[in-house]
Subunit: 393 residues, 2 copies
DNA sequence: CGCTTACCGGTAAGCGCTTACCAAAAGAGC
DNA sequence: GCTCTTTTGGTAAGCGCTTACCGGTAAGCG
């Protein structure tokens, strides 16, 4: 309970010191655990702190210590239709951010979030403003041009997510290639589907390019016909997926036997559009996703997809950033393994017991791709081989 | 591109000044738009800034200005099983945070996020740490005891979300009462269901209590049998909803004609559990949600629910906080109106055209409850009367 | 060319905290 | 009671930036 008769201005350690009858040096020592203050001194300081409701000013601490204990995270918002249903895409980013946050907590850091609209022009100043308030930066997706990136990276350490490794920066990504290969292999080799299409994400996204490349390579390797022309260009959103399907059907085009979507959001829109037209999944067309967002398992049919360790991605990004901040060294290129999650939308039958909540979802580890770049693969906990696990729901 | 031959330490305005051949005062004037620097001066300063890749230190600015341009947001994470599928609940909070972020951007503020685990003990110090790094705080849910809240509120302005208004604090919430009334009225009066149950959220949540109370009142007012005993206690999660249904069915209990869930997550789990047991929604049992999370429309059947203007909730929270920070005055109790979204899970038939993406979802404005507390209702944009709107997907 | 009006440079104080320093005081041990 | 060891108080500098002040210099004008 704050003392009613306290002065007007904000509290400082001087107020605490005089209240406790000690010097500011002692207050600081107690608060920072430096030196070995006597128990009695500590007591009096702590009591004064609680009585006054004192909170140290972070800016002053940061200035004095040269450490803000803040990491900045910058990403792009869906689009500029601010308050419309902007449903899409936010799941993915938020899960990663949650991972960053959890890892940051462990080090006493907090996370400074800043989103930027897709049509926003002055990106660099905005990122710079965040950089000035943080000890390091984590950048989602492609936020900046290479030159803008370099400018910022000269100021604070920067980790990019799902980008391409660049000199002077650090990057964390998931093993898109291995995941896509495992997925296509399952569809073509296991199910025997002869035609597969890739419904793309935004075409300028590095993730999308990597997935497309692996898709085509694996389809070719297994002798399946691969479709991925401009008519299959989505944008990572459910609306984009639905639009592609509706356009194809409106033109009375034959659909391929399986549609590999660039992400789960897209698959969601695709399945919705197909259902409206009375096309059965997976009987008529199989559909797969990529990401394994939480709702993927709740769709009908439950979505076969690639699970990316999104929380771990965020946590790893923070950890290497922290390492860079505190020691000056940080791993410049980390690749995390992904997992094939077989549910029902690919054509597999459910292993769900009908009477009790129980076994479901078959995770299959995608073998890490050796891409010859010397990237390291972390996270053995994701390296489980084909077995059944208990589902949380 | 950073100059290679720059000194070791971080750049300061002194470096910029000497590079541009002007004084630090001029640099500061240019950077802050104070005074009226000559065009030539501005040019040279800006050029030096970009050449050097200079970024002003936020901590020093904050210390000098007494303004950090940061708002803190604190909330609780699902639970401490950090890297397990923590699916649930994160949607809701993240949408609100997005609203905060968007509103903050408009004022040049950034958002400092800090989550706290449910089993975390020392909450107050954690919140205090965030408070020290921010100009104001937005607290989700019930984060602190009244005394802890007061202690923090003595330091920085605080806005609580969906809590109960308290003196000295500001609060923003949605009109739970009106929403629940509209929902129950629709089920009982429009559909004629004689038995309805309320599958609760966490029982200590103010939102949950408000919804329960309105549920019982409206059911009674319309002569329906209301069930809401301990066997109907959920916890806002899909798993919780499924657990309740499974337990009831395992005991061979008759289900009510309609199940009103405390939130969409719960409804999701309920529908999933019912589907497993072969119970048809809405033919056998109607199910409704609360929140209108993005995926609600993609469920089968699409979920009838109450839309809370979650982004606006966040934006409003920021706006009153900003007002308090900058002017010292802020509205202490804001109530936002909600909207009944009729889809199919209540038993209504879809108005969806089968051949084109198009009209869907009937929003019906819930009349704002006059609760006699003098609270004001904002947001006329939600006050649309019954009509059909185009769905985004 | 002399005058008024910009604008600018240099300087200094101060934001709240940390930390080093040293002298002074309090405790411990005999 | 007298050393010998902690622990403390007072002081000061400094983190990087903003801003006020004011004498000086450059531009604008008649």
């Amino acid at each position: 309970m704050p003392d009613p008769k306290r002065q007007k201005g904000p509290l400082t350690i001087y107020d605490v010191a005089s209240r406790a009858g000690v010097s500011i040096a002692s207050v600081s020592r107690v608060l920072n655990g430096q030196g070995t203050p006597r128990a009695a001194t500590r007591e009096r300081v702590m009591q004064a702190v609680t009585e006054l409701g004192f909170v140290r000013d972070g800016a002053a601490r940061a200035l004095s210590n040269g450490l803000k204990e803040v990491v900045g995270v910058v990403f792009r918002r869906g689009d500029e239709t601010l308050f419309e249903d902007e449903d899409e895409s936010l799941l993915f980013i938020d899960v990663i951010n949650r991972g960053i946050d959890v890892a940051a907590q462990r080090r006493g850091f907090d996370v400074l979030i800043s989103s930027i609209g897709y049509n926003d022009e002055n990106v660099t100043p905005r990122v710079a403003a965040v950089a000035g308030k943080a000890d390091g930066l984590i950048l989602h997706d492609r936020m900046l041009s290479a030159s803008g990136l370099n400018r910022i990276a000269g100021t604070v350490p920067v980790v990019t997510l799902a980008g391409t490794p660049a000199r002077g920066l650090m990057n964390v990504r998931c093993d898109n290639e291995a995941g896509m290969r495992a997925l296509v292999h399952h569809l073509v080799a296991d199910h025997g589907y002869g035609t597969v299409a890739y419904l793309s994400g935004r075409t300028d996204s590095p993730d999308n390019r990597a997935r497309l490349k692996a898709f085509e390579a694996e389809a070719a390797a297994n002798g399946a016909e691969a479709q991925a022309g401009p008519e299959w260009h989505g944008n990572y959103s459910a609306a984009g997926g639905a639009r592609v399907i509706n356009a194809l059907l409106d033109e009375h085009r034959d659909l391929p036997r399986a549609i590999v979507c660039a992400n789960d959001q897209t698959a969601l829109g695709v399945m919705h559009a197909l259902a409206r037209r009375g096309i059965m999944v997976p009987q008529d067309v199989a559909v797969t996703g990529f990401d394994d967002v939480p709702v993927a398992r709740h769709l009908h049919p439950p979505l076969t997809t690639i699970r990316q360790p999104m929380q771990e991605l965020g946590a790893m990004a923070f950890d290497i950033l922290y390492s860079k901040i505190s020691t000056g060294k940080g791993d410049p290129d980390v690749v995390l393994p992904v997992q094939l999650i077989i549910r029902e939308s690919c054509g597999c039958t459910s292993r769900v017991s009908r009477t009790t909540a129980g076994k479901k979802d078959s995770p299959v580890t995608a073998p890490a791709s050796s891409d010859g770049t010397g990237s390291r693969v972390f996270g053995r906990r994701f390296a489980r081989t084909r077995h059944v696990r208990v589902d949380g729901t």
